[in-house]
């Protein structure tokens, strides 16, 4: 097919809207990593001894590990000694006690990102924890949540105020030595969010964390831990952006979810880290370990992700379905354009009887990007009556991009049903022409076709964010129409 026609490729030239830098004084460690750096991070945060020991153990383990090489991504070796492992905006005096004491430059940054933190302008019905480089700068609606018994705070605050919960649950889903990046994170993680929803409580509002990388030459290593006790339910969303820089920055986060009996956790991600420019210069390396454990009977964990950013994405939000009758879900849209690379998918580990999982993964590649779906469905002998349904679809825009699918299945219980459907389609010149012939502009047409393709995933996002995701998608695929 001739590429002369309404240029699908030109349509995807990407503009990144969150690429500004906030000029703020920060306290940063010099680049480099050894035990003293790990200890210094722990000291900065006045951590209890158990946590320091935990970090050091993870660090020593990390030293023995190597980066995984099986993912379908390529990048130059990362020099871990050339990264600063801690950067925080310099506090005026003590940590701000209320939003009014937060540096106005920081508030302005979040305002610009569309996340107003001020009482009067806040997103209605959504509590936000704002994480800037290595620290949480503000958490909204804390009091209102506390009334309902919900703990929602920065990870550092949680370590200080609820050390027993941290000690009980930290690393209980993703052990420190789980993989190279998780081990690194366990050693040097600086902040993140903590959520605890007690027995029988439905969290009265959406919770969200907004991650922002600002400082150069730093990595962001945050840690999120969400625990829903018996019968509790919570919906949580994270958003991420970073400035445009020529260098690659590492983001290696760990997210752990624990759902006890009858608990429900819905975790949504709108990931829009800086993807690099059209030649593949710069951008975030997003190497993230996310795992939830349905520890209790009839519990449910649902991951929804819309991934449009990052130079390289390496993440597999997974569910360990231990409790009888527990349910795991994974809904994903991954968009790669220019020279972005994504290797993403999920793991569903069926351990309990009658556990059920659903996977719907949509990959969209454009330009010279590659995207791979990698999924594992594992049914252990104990998982009598387990069921899985997997659907993964790829949409290719233009002739130079790639999509790959790597579904792995390991079924060790004969009563299990595992279904897999896959498709790859090209954004049809036919579909595009059809819309043009109806008078619709090429840009609108591409947006329409792509969001149609993603519909099954978007409908899983909390309502407040479905629109945001939709917009993000249009921005990612926006460009000059010839």
């Amino acid at each position: 097919m001739s590429s002369k026609s309404p240029d699908v490729e030109a349509l995807i030239a990407q503009k990144y809207r969150h690429g500004f830098v906030t000029d703020i004084e920060s306290d940063s460690f010099p680049p480099g990593l050894d035990e003293s750096v790990v200890a210094a991070i722990s000291r900065k945060k006045n951590e209890p001894q158990f946590l320091l020991d935990w970090r050091l153990k993870a660090f020593r383990h990390w030293l023995t590990m190597r980066e995984p090489v099986w993912a379908h991504v390529r990048f130059d070796p990362i020099d871990y000694q050339d990264i600063s492992y801690y950067s925080a905006p310099r506090a005026k005096a003590d940590a701000p006690k209320s939003i009014d004491e937060v540096d106005p430059k920081l508030l302005a940054t979040y305002e610009k990102l569309g996340i107003p933190l001020h009482e009067r302008a806040r997103l209605a019905g959504v509590a936000v924890d704002a994480v800037f480089d290595s620290v949480s700068v503000a958490t909204t609606f804390k009091d209102k949540l506390a009334k309902a018994g919900v703990i929602f705070c920065s990870f550092s605050d949680a370590v200080r105020d609820h050390p027993e919960l941290i000690e009980q649950y930290l690393g209980s889903v993703v052990p420190p030595g789980d993989n190279f990046y998780a081990a690194l994170n366990s050693a040097v993680f600086s902040d993140g969010s903590f959520v605890y929803v007690p027995r029988g409580v439905r969290c009265p509002m959406e919770l969200s964390t907004y991650f922002r990388i600002n400082a150069a030459k730093t990595g962001q290593f945050e840690r999120t831990l969400i625990v829903a006790a018996e019968g509790a339910s919570v919906s949580y969303l994270e958003g991420c952006t970073a400035p445009m820089r020529d260098e690659n920055q590492l983001h290696a986060a760990v997210v752990e979810l624990v759902a006890l009996d009858d608990a429900r956790i819905k975790y949504s991600t709108v990931q829009n880290w800086y993807p690099g420019d059209e030649n593949g210069v710069g951008g975030i390396y997003n190497f993230v370990t996310k795992r939830g454990e349905c520890r209790g009977r009839n519990s449910k964990i649902s991951w929804t992700q819309v991934e449009t950013g990052s130079a390289i994405t390496w993440k597999y939000p997974s569910c360990v379905l231990r409790g009888e009758g527990s349910v795991g879900e994974f809904y994903s849209v991954a968009v790669t354009s220019h020279r972005q690379q994504a290797d993403t998918g999920t793991k569903m580990i069926h351990i309990g009887r009658n556990t059920k999982s659903t996977i719907v993964a949509k990959g969209i590649s454009a330009g010279r990007a590659t995207s791979a779906y990698r999924g594992l469905v594992k049914v252990l002998p104990s998982a009598e009556g387990a069921r899985n349904f997997t659907q993964c679809d790829s949409l290719l825009m233009g002739p130079h991009c790639e999509a790959h699918t790597f579904p792995y299945m390991e079924v060790r219980n004969p009563s299990a049903t595992v279904e897999h459907e896959a498709s790859t389609s090209k954004i049809g010149e036919d579909q595009l022409f059809y819309c043009l012939q109806r008078g619709i502009s090429a840009e609108d047409a591409v947006n329409m076709i792509v969001s149609g393709f993603c519909k099954a995933v978007f409908k899983e996002l909390p309502m407040e964010f479905a629109v945001e995701a939709q917009n993000l998608l249009s921005v990612s695929l926006e460009g000059a129409v010839g």
Partner: protein, 250 residues
Amino acid sequence: MLSIVDLQARIAGKTILNGIDLEVRPGEVHAIMGPNGSGKSTLAQVLAGREEYEVTAGRVDFDGRDLLAMPAEERARAGLFLGFQYPVEIPGVNNVYLLKAALNAKRRAAGQPEVDAYEFLALVREKMRIMQMNESFLSRGVNEGFSGGEKKRNEILQMLVLEPKLAILDETDSGLDIDALKVVAQGVNTLRHPERAVVLVTHYQRLLDYVVPDHVHVLARGRIIKSGDRSLALELERRGYDWLLESKVA
């Protein structure tokens, strides 16, 4: 309204249109017939602005404008509608959403305000009644899982909502059952108007019983080799194309 002079076009290095001349005036219905592969759909697509086809010679004037210089979406907004021989499926995009986007694109281009939701729904409902389509088609994906006949009906529904000046319908009658054929014909007749014109590409004279053409053309090997009135279609039905093709070779 539409004036085609010596139009030549090729694709993949192969010349498909070999010099087409055709004059369509307001209010007229033209039928274009011809053997498989003779270039009928190519002509329709070239007129609609599909850029895969390379126009190598000729001029097309549409309502005083140089049609070939306009991009496809502008041609559509200027009132040219193509009913596709094979309407494409666009999964997940609501039929009604596409329709509204199309209508609004056209209205914006004409400097009119966008249609409001209430007005729009009333309009679509009225047109759906003409096409005897169930409202459930609105919320389904564009042509997604539609039967062959349903897709064709949907094309005519879009045409009725957009009210084009010139509708080129590429085998809209193929694959329709007898009742559906009547419904589609009725849809086309609803659009007829002294200011509008219709070009029907068809293999069957039956459609022409319901939508009576003013002119019938035979397209073969990329040329219009014969034009006539309605009786030509009847003759073709009886005799096929061989007699025309042979006389051309001789």
